[in-house]
Symmetry: D2
Subunit: 162 residues, 4 copies
Amino acid sequence: MFLAHDQDLVNNGLMSNKPTPSLRSDYAHLSTITTRWMDNDIYGHVNNVTYYSYFDTAVNRYLIDAGVLDIHGGEVIGLVIETHCNYFAPLAFPRDVEAAIRVAHIGRSSVRYEIGLFEAGQEHAAACGHFVHVYVDRQTRRPTALPEAFVRALQQLQVPTA
Amino acid sequence: MFLAHDQDLVNNGLMSNKPTPSLRSDYAHLSTITTRWMDNDIYGHVNNVTYYSYFDTAVNRYLIDAGVLDIHGGEVIGLVIETHCNYFAPLAFPRDVEAAIRVAHIGRSSVRYEIGLFEAGQEHAAACGHFVHVYVDRQTRRPTALPEAFVRALQQLQVPTA
Amino acid sequence: MFLAHDQDLVNNGLMSNKPTPSLRSDYAHLSTITTRWMDNDIYGHVNNVTYYSYFDTAVNRYLIDAGVLDIHGGEVIGLVIETHCNYFAPLAFPRDVEAAIRVAHIGRSSVRYEIGLFEAGQEHAAACGHFVHVYVDRQTRRPTALPEAFVRALQQLQVPTA
Amino acid sequence: MFLAHDQDLVNNGLMSNKPTPSLRSDYAHLSTITTRWMDNDIYGHVNNVTYYSYFDTAVNRYLIDAGVLDIHGGEVIGLVIETHCNYFAPLAFPRDVEAAIRVAHIGRSSVRYEIGLFEAGQEHAAACGHFVHVYVDRQTRRPTALPEAFVRALQQLQVPTA
């Protein structure tokens, strides 16, 4: 019901490139997110803002489950400096969303995560996006080198073709 | 407390370009948004997701106040196909946010809105972003030419230098 | 980490009664809700507001899955006229929440739902609450008798001891 | 558009009492909250859950502005143990909400806040509710006596007739 991203939008300068929906196989890790009543806005589908809460949730849940992120007392916290999303098809409560993630780049203190959101049973992503985390010391908020265990957890999210 | 966007991040492919914070004078319209307790996440600042709810709110409030968007029964609704945000400095409850907006491109049925979020008293934007709306018929969800009055309201959001 | 509800609070008029946490067996239907990064507030646990989004989600998901609520085009919609929650223990992202529901009363056009939220593996509810829905005609917003199929779906949520 | 709370609902046990909408003059402090696009749910009005974020925001903003609550580093934090709301009339984006608050009871470590939400220009509250905070030590999470300055700030929220 959402629109294919028209080449005209790129030609006319509205968008910087013409995105295409990805596949589950383009990602390294998949998890399920249950939608909520409040996710649907007045137009009856998940509001564009909420997609980013799925991004946040999928990535941080992976890191916590991998034992490398302690959000309550850990010395390193991730600050988001860039987020982006393209929307190809609607998502809607009450259907579950599958969030697929991969890591595209690992820097000294920064990481680029790429995410695809899929409706159950659908081959193509309903939305694709990325966010860039810079990891900083909790107290000083200065960039800090990623711990080794953290890097290993990230490497497991890299895919050959990403 | 957030990070300047380092040129290294661009060089290393983590980000597509090096964004810089805009000024209020770069925009056409300014409105105030009150922050909420829930906007602050566990790290004590407004969560990156919530910035997009400020984007949505500032633009749609302008369109409704201008009398060109009827979200309950209007024939035309806006679907978001792309959103983007760069974060330069933290925002936090309970301080108000000033949302500045402009229109960068007006197509036949699509619009690119650009938004800057400012903390009261601060010269540079805490965050800058954009979103692209495609306007569709409420029933068919097919793109529809923007009504004249709508275009006029959008033109008032255009700025010479944008 | 939250507090037992002290009898003193009741004696001093702060609370109307002394609530006690319920058990899963006190309810008729159980479903899982995944938590989100944003659910945690600055104090590191799910914000009290978000519990109500779990209530809404659990009940409406049941009604939609049962085929008796069509949120997009159905003639009958539910308006909430009262909500209440008591909090006994914290919930926190990334752990899943189990939402248990029952129906306490079925009126001509109104229903009282009671909900318990459990952390996985915990015997006692982390929070208990209720909400009262009045079902109205989508157009006139006047109360309307509950359709038969709807009542049957509700009856399956009644428990002997509730 | 919401319903008057019918005495039948009380008689039939769906609700514990028959609430009536309050007036601005029933409260001690008033502040404005801007609504957001996302606040409206699929039925076109502010979702019942979001009312509680207005409660949280109005009370905590008062306490922070009064200089008695430091959410980042203060020794005392407030845990919510009970919340309640009755809904009399709809609220909707983009109209502002006025949140009126008062303190009904001050205990050694607990407080009962009562809140009325008003649409601009309306005499009667669109919703009335309360929440009970127990103040605890940030580290031990054990109840702690309210500091003197805190009590003084609370006393300014007491009204003769509340």
